[in-house]
C-alpha cells in the first residue's frame, strides 16, 4: 500500500525535465577531459589507510604547481586571489592577521571529485590583512578518503575572529593544532588521529571571540581547548553553537525528535542549566559555530521557517527579537559567521554567478569565477558595511572567513 505522500511526490516528479538527447555525449566528453589531467598517483597505502599528501611534490602535466617563490605574493591586480604564482609558506612568526582562507583544489575541473589534488596547490591558502597570500605548508588540504572510491574531502581550517590564530590539521603530527600567527607558537589540541578517522568524523571548529578558546567537535562529542596551553575539557553530548567572547558560557544543542534543548555549561564542561529552545528558532546552521553574543547572553538563530533570523535569550531559550534584515543584492540575513561586537555580526554571502547558471535557457552559462563578500551588519540599524570581496577562479572551492574584529 502506498501513501498519498508517495502519489503527491510522484506527481511532482513528473515535472522533471526529460533527459537531453546529448546527455551521454556530454558525460563522456567531460569524463575524457578529466582523464587527460594527469596527477602523480600517490602510493597506495595499506588497506584502510588513505595516502598522505606529500608537501612540495612536483606535478606533471596539466596542473599548476611550482616550488615556493622567492618573493612575497600579493593579490593580483585583477583581484582574483588564485591567479598568479603560488604563494610561499606562512612565516614562522610575526605573520599578520588573516582575513580569509581557501582551497581551490589546484583549479581541477570538477574540484575534489575523482582524485584529490596533490602538491602545494592543494594546500590551504591564506589572505592576510595587508593583502599578502600564504600557504599553510604543514597543514592538510584535500585528501583521498579511501583508495578506489570516488569520495574525497578536505581537512578543516578555522580562523579566529581577530585573525591572529588559525586552527588546522597538521600533517606531520596527525592532529589538530592552533597556531599563533604573531609568536609562531603551535599548540596541539586533542589527540592524534589517522586520516580514516579524520574522514569518518570531520571536525567542526569554532573559536571564542577572543581566540583563546577553541571548540573542536568530532564524532558526536566536543572538546574545549585552551589554545595557549593545549589543556582540554570534554563538553557534554550535543552540538556546540556558542562560546561568546571568552567561553565563560558555552551553549550546546541537544535534539530529540522535534525538540531542541539548549545545554549551558562553563569552560569545565559542567552543565549549569538546560532550557527548551523556542520552536520559532532553529540552530541547525549553528552547529559547530559560535553564534553566542560576546556577553554570553544572546544567541543568533535562524527562523525555523528559514526566512530570516531571531535572537534568543540563552537563559530562557525564548525568542526575544525577530530580525528581518535585507541583504545587499537580495534575500534576508539568516545565518552568520560570528559576532563582531555587542550588536554587530559578520556574515558572508555569494555574489551572483556563484555556481549557478546565469538564467533559464537551453544552455546554462557558467560564471568562471567564484565570488563572495564579507559584511559587518549592525543588528540594531540593519545597516551593512562591506569588509572584503573575494574572487577565485575555480569550479569548486572550500573557504573560511575570519579576522573581522581586527
Amino acid at each position: 500500500m502506498t501513501s498519498r505522500l508517495h502519489h503527491a511526490l510522484s506527481e511532482l516528479a513528473e515535472q522533471a525535465p526529460a533527459p537531453r538527447t546529448e546527455l551521454t555525449g556530454h558525460v563522456i566528453t567531460r569524463a575524457r577531459r578529466r582523464r587527460r589531467v594527469r596527477l602523480i598517483a600517490m602510493p597506495a597505502a595499506a588497506a584502510g589507510v588513505a595516502a598522505a599528501i606529500v608537501v612540495g611534490s612536483v606535478l606533471t602535466g596539466g596542473t599548476t604547481n611550482s616550488a615556493p617563490p622567492a618573493v612575497t605574493v600579493t593579490v593580483p591586480r585583477n583581484g582574483v586571489l588564485n591567479d598568479g604564482p603560488l604563494p610561499g609558506p606562512l612565516p614562522a612568526e610575526k605573520a599578520e592577521p588573516i582575513r580569509y582562507a581557501f582551497l581551490d583544489h589546484c583549479k581541477q575541473k570538477g574540484g575534489l571529485s575523482y582524485k584529490p589534488p596533490v602538491g602545494d596547490c592543494g594546500q590551504w591558502r591564506l589572505l592576510d590583512r595587508s593583502g599578502k597570500l600564504w600557504r599553510v605548508a604543514d597543514g592538510m588540504g584535500a585528501y583521498p578518503t579511501s583508495t578506489g572510491d570516488y569520495m574525497n574531502s578536505s581537512a578543516p581550517l578555522e580562523i579566529s575572529p581577530d585573525g591572529r590564530r588559525i586552527a588546522y590539521f597538521k600533517v606531520k603530527e596527525q592532529r589538530y593544532v592552533v597556531r599563533d600567527l604573531s609568536s609562531g607558537r603551535i599548540t596541539p589540541v586533542g589527540r592524534r588521529m589517522s586520516l580514516p578517522e579524520l574522514y569518518r568524523a570531520p571536525a567542526a571548529m569554532a573559536f571564542s571571540g577572543d581566540g583563546r578558546w577553541l571548540a573542536v567537535a568530532s564524532g558526536g562529542r566536543s572538546l574545549l581547548a585552551d589554545t595557549t596551553t593545549g589543556a582540554v575539557s570534554v563538553l557534554p553530548a550535543g552540538s556546540v553553537v556558542g562560546l561568546g567572547q571568552d567561553a565563560a558560557t558555552v551553549v550546546l544543542t541537544e535534539t530529540k525528535g522535534s525538540r531542541t534543548t539548549l545545554v549551558i555549561t562553563g569552560r569545565d564542561g559542567r552543565v549549569r542549566g538546560r532550557v527548551p529552545l523556542d520552536p520559532r528558532a532553529s540552530l541547525d546552521m549553528a552547529s559547530g559555530e559560535n553564534w553566542l553574543s560576546p556577553d554570553g547572553r544572546t544567541l543568533f538563530a535562524s527562523r525555523s521557517s528559514h526566512d530570516g533570523a531571531v535572537l534568543v535569550d540563552v537563559r530562557t531559550g525564548k525568542v526575544i527579537r525577530t530580525l528581518r534584515i535585507r541583504m545587499p543584492g537580495g534575500g534576508t540575513l539568516g545565518g552568520i559567521t560570528g559576532w563582531a561586537g555587542p550588536s554587530k555580526v559578520f556574515t558572508a554571502h555569494a555574489l551572483p554567478g556563484w555556481d549557478e547558471p546565469a538564467g533559464p535557457g537551453p544552455a546554462p552559462r557558467r560564471h568562471p569565477f567564484m565570488r563572495s563578500r564579507g559584511l559587518i551588519i549592525d543588528l540594531d540599524t540593519g545597516k551593512s558595511r562591506v569588509l572584503d570581496t573575494y574572487k577565485l577562479r575555480a569550479s569548486q572551492i572550500s573557504n573560511v572567513y575570519g579576522g573581522y574584529t581586527s
Binding site: 505522500l5 508517495h6 525535465p17 546552521m285 572550500s398
Partner: protein, 176 residues
C-alpha cells in the same frame, strides 16, 4: 568506446528516473540536470567495473545522493540561505487542485535540509526500506528514522495544509 560500453543504454533507460529523483531533491529543473550530469561524469571513468557488478543503478543513485548532500553542505558553509517570502497565514489553498499541491509540496521540500529531503525522497517516493535508505546514504537506520521523523515534522510546520498527506505517511511508516 569499450570503456563506456553500456553507458548510453543505461542513460537512455534510467536517465528519466534519475532526473525525477534529482528534481525532487533540488526543486529545480536546471539543478536536477546538473546533479545528474555531474554524478554520471563521476561514474563514467569506472563504468566498466560498476556495470560488471550487476546493479549499476544502485551505485549511481548512491553517488547522486552523496553529491546532492555535498552540494548543500557547500552552500550552507557560505551562510547562504534561500530568500523566501514569509508564510502567508491568510492563505487557505485548495489542495484538491493537484497543481497547487505540487507547488506547495515542492516549496516545502526546498526548506528541508539535504539529508531530510533525501530521506523523504528515498522513503516515500522511491519506497525504499530503512535499511536500503541507510545503505544509500551511508548512515545508520537510527539516523534514517530520526531524519524521517524530523523531516515530516518540519513539513507539517512549514505547510499545515499538508497535514493529511503527512499523517497518512506517518501511519504507513509506523506499520512498515
Amino acid at each position: 568506446m569499450a570503456r563506456y560500453d553500456g553507458l548510453p543504454e543505461f542513460v537512455a533507460a534510467r536517465g528519466q528516473a534519475l532526473l525525477r529523483s534529482a528534481y525532487l531533491l533540488t526543486g529545480d529543473g536546471h539543478l536536477a540536470e546538473d546533479l545528474v550530469q555531474s554524478t554520471l561524469v563521476k561514474v563514467a571513468p569506472r563504468w566498466r567495473r560498476v556495470a560488471a557488478v550487476g546493479n549499476p543503478e544502485a551505485y549511481v543513485r548512491k553517488m547522486l545522493y552523496h553529491e546532492h548532500i555535498s552540494w548543500w553542505r557547500r552552500r550552507s558553509r557560505r551562510n547562504e540561505l534561500p530568500s523566501a517570502a514569509p508564510p502567508d497565514d491568510e492563505r487557505r489553498p485548495d489542495f484538491a487542485d493537484g497543481a497547487l499541491l505540487s507547488m506547495v509540496l515542492q516549496q516545502a521540500l526546498t526548506k528541508l535540509t539535504a539529508k531530510q529531503r533525501a530521506v523523504i525522497v528515498l522513503r516515500f517516493y522511491e519506497d525504499r526500506s530503512e535499511i536500503e535508505t541507510a545503505e544509500l546514504l551511508g548512515c545508520s537506520t537510527g539516523t534514517v528514522k530520526s531524519q524521517t521523523h524530523r523531516a515530516l515534522a518540519r513539513l507539517r510546520v512549514l505547510e499545515p495544509g499538508l497535514a493529511d498527506l503527512l499523517t497518512d505517511a506517518e501511519t504507513l511508516e509506523a506499520t512498515r
